[in-house]
Amino acid sequence: MASALFFLDLKGKTLLARNYRGDIPMSAVEKFPVLLLDAEEESSAVPPCFTHEGVNYLYIRHNNLYLLALTKTNSNATEILLFLHRLVEVLTEYFKELEEESIRDNFVVIYELLDEMMDFGYPQTTEVKILQEYITQESHKIQARPPIAVTNAVSWRSEGIRYRKNEVFLDVIESLNLLVNSNGTVLRSEILGAVKMKCYLSGMPELRLGLNDKVMFESTGRTSRGKSIEMEDVKFHQCVRLSRFENDRTISFIPPDGEFELMSYRLNTQVKPLIWVEADVQSHSGSRIEFMLKAKAQFKRRSTANNVEIIVPVPDDASSPRFRTNIGSVQYVPEKAAIVWKIKQFAGGKEFLMRADLALPSVKEAEPDRKKRPIQVKFEIPYFTTSGIQVRYLKIIEPKLQYPSLPWVRYITQSGDITIRLPEAS
């Protein structure tokens, strides 16, 4: 429960505020920048919530803004911080970009949204699609009514949606998170998958999605043809009936209209790095530093990784770079203190090399930058999932309209957070 919300600039000046409960002096916000500064002096780790003189400050940072909530009771911290993030999402959807400028320009709508999204400090409707139905940036020509969906059990979909052609697009997107030590051992690997939908269906359709879910196969005693996967943890959009999933692993739901993320899942299985990067760093008597990189695509030959980027951190003060590679292009990006090796298409099983040579200034900084930034790898592999997840079926039933419909499925694997610790220069 939040007593008041504030949008602040980075100096701590209030851009817009809403007092929900009137139980905290609004001047408490003036202390915020001071407290933040004091805390930063104390330690580099300033937590996102702290208490001062009976007032609790919970904040997030977005672009050049702080979103701050104040409360004086022992409130639910997760709820408040999450609400602030949700607020950012909603406002971003409304204004494309949430920043000082867009707050000034749209204060009327923001007040309206704040009024609708939270009452007496308790979050209410935060579903942006529904909000957009009755809170608009244009003046209300016709008297708006609260959409039934606001309070409905199905609070995410309006009634009376019509499409001439009923279609559903499913994107199964897996991102791979990987942490590799400098000696090449994989410290941590994780697949974060998401099933995203674009749903253009009329009426109130009932959907059922079938996956090659191992637990489901086992519980129903069915044997699967081919591989089944074991998902570590699954999260569903609020439209999915959780108790049904708990009972018999059926994913059934009435979808929101348009784009949304139906579910996300996590697998902890050991994955070998799809794009393997080996680095060797040599420093030549402190005046030159040389990087030798080998990148290898460790997936089947018929797949291809697109837009591969290998970002290698170099010392801040490096200069006059020289590169040699047998594929793609290499660029030195001084503002990021990194070299970026870009390869448009990287076929499975292939291996490429790159050599970079940079000069270092003869005068050393007093305190050498020991910050160990890792190598980062980015890529995208279409028509391929690391986990082997498969959509077995998507059943669409609209009991009243009974239209034919077309589901489309696409698979794609992306790099998530892939970091390879850089070995010490030898």
């Binding site: 022992n74 639910n76 911290a77 007496f120 708006a144 942490l179 970091t419």
Partner: protein
Amino acid sequence: MAANRIRSMFPAAPRKGETFELRNGLNSQFAHERKDAIRNTIAAMTLGKDVSVLFPDIIKNMATGDLDQKKLVYLYLMNYAKTHPELCILAVNTFLQDAEDPNPLIRALAIRTMGCIRVDKIVDYLEEPLRKTLKDESPYVRKTAAICVAKFFAVNTAKCLENGFLESLQEMIGDSNPMVVANSVTALAEIQNMAPETKALVVTSATLKKLLMALNECTEWGRITILSTLADYRTTDVKESEHICERVVPQFQHVNPAVVIAAVKAVFLHMRNIGPELSKTYLKKMAPPLVTLVSSAPEVQYVALRNINLLLQKQPDILNKELRVFFCKYDDPPYVKIEKLDIMIRIGNERNIDQLLMELKEYALDVDMDFVRRAVRAIGQVAVKIESASERCINVLLDLLNTKVNYVVQEAVVVIKDIFRKYQGYEGIIPTLCGCIDELDEPNARGSLIWIVGEYAEKITNADEILGTFIEGFKEEATQVQLQLLTATVKLFLKKPDTNQTVIQNMLKTATSESDNPDIRDRAYIYWRLLSAGPDIARRIVLSDKPAITTTIHSLPPNLLDELITEISTLASVYHKPPETFVGGGRFGADTVQRRAIEEFQQIAKENPVAVGTGKPANDENLLDIDFSDSPAPSSSPAPAASSASADLFGVLESNPSPSPPPPANTGSSNMDDLFSILGSTTTSPPPQQPSALNTSGGGLVSGLEGLQLGGLSSTPAPQTPVQPKDRKQQNEDILGLF
């Protein structure tokens, strides 16, 4: 007010022209001009300008068919009603009309706004429309009215009860619309919190059914409320708890992390009632969603990590296999890294130790000084925790000593001292440690090294030289280091009496005659007398075996932990402090804070029978929890609380005649007077020194205990467990005899 502040930030002259123009606009004959003027007024208000003079002009524009305009006027009213209560009455009519408008949006708006205007006159008029809207046909209006009851209650409790609004809300738990149910529960929960005597939200088996029904249907935020209510519901009925768990578990799959944490909380609390087999399965089911929380937004992650920390203290095994999940990413915010680190050492076990150590070593080479120190400390904590890994930890620490990075070396010395306090057989590395002497400039690190030198004086050939150099600068050292130096020199003398006569004499002379710190002088006198009583007795006392320490990982006292488990996901669970310490400011604070401080102190005393020698960083926080990064303490409390804790401790030591468990806290305070009269010389020490002595929990107080042993021993032969209150008491009295 914000207005004043911003005005002072822009010291430009008040633009009378602007207000004038706005007023003209508000009174214009053209609708669009009026609307623009309202917009501009709100814009000025947003900028923090005080536009309250326009109140009457704004109110004239309240009755309008334009919804946007109405919202703006309402917003204005909410902002300035407090400053113009007498004018609010003008708005009442429109409010009442709007509350009966055919459009549910307007009805809800009217009732929502009226509730926010905390002016008695308005509240008087709220009863009727509130009664009607609670029964409104539109669920949107009903859900708004439900919250409005809580607002009404806050302003006028008596009227709210009189009108039977609580009963209406209680009925609405059975509403057909899930959002109405959720808001009714929210409002009732708030009222229950504010005034428990109303028994607003008492869960019965009938309401339980309704809540569980609504759980699956209402919005994410509603689910959080319902889940929290379910968690707060205490039942002893096993079947009921089983049922609740069964119905709540599916919520682990919800996409909203706050729902997941609320569900974890409900299951965790109701699990206590159900059989061990079943609770085991639930604990297993809890792990994956907890792990997933670690990939949410950093701020949310932080709250989750703080809560996982609590859960791990209660159920250490739940995340046994998930160590890797808590590895720090290089771009994690510092506050997340620190929490992950703490969780990693809790999860660490014999199977994952190699991975853990490799990772910790990596962190110890990072750039963030604070984080690096914690990483080094973590290596020490792991060494003490996992015996089979101690050697590997030592090796890593030795590698780190070689980095010669000043703060890494200092922290490493401190934790190696802790390792020595637990294990035998690592004396071989002492020369390496002594090689770092020049790097050490922090009292904690210097004290640690001195302790090591004293403890192993017989194995260090040049121990006298090393201590000698420290003694030369005795007067410049911090109290903590001086105390260590004193003890270490005594140890040195007792171990090598032939060669160190002059050293000890110099030391004692300096400490007794040149120090103006009574703690130092007293300690020196005690040693002096002890030594003059005969080296054999002194040897038996000073060089007696000390019990090994068990852990250096900070844990909360069990009763506080249990309390915090019931507060999961709230600020209390984030701060790791009971709510009364930060809610309600000073009025609440004192007593409870003091009680906690005493409890914590007893806990420390229990965990660390004789905290030898130097300060033990892990426990510093227990006592004077003013470390901001850990959890912000209420500014008013720490100092008095801590000092009274110390006073109580003395009282406890003094007043406990039989070997009973630590006495209830309240007996302590009654002994304070005695204490002051008895230990006069100690308590008159300059105020800043007392906290500092406390702060080094091992160093000041407990090494004081080490000193206290002396007296006891002159009559009782060498007790091996000097913690027992019985012994303490005797020691105390004997010491008094000394004076």
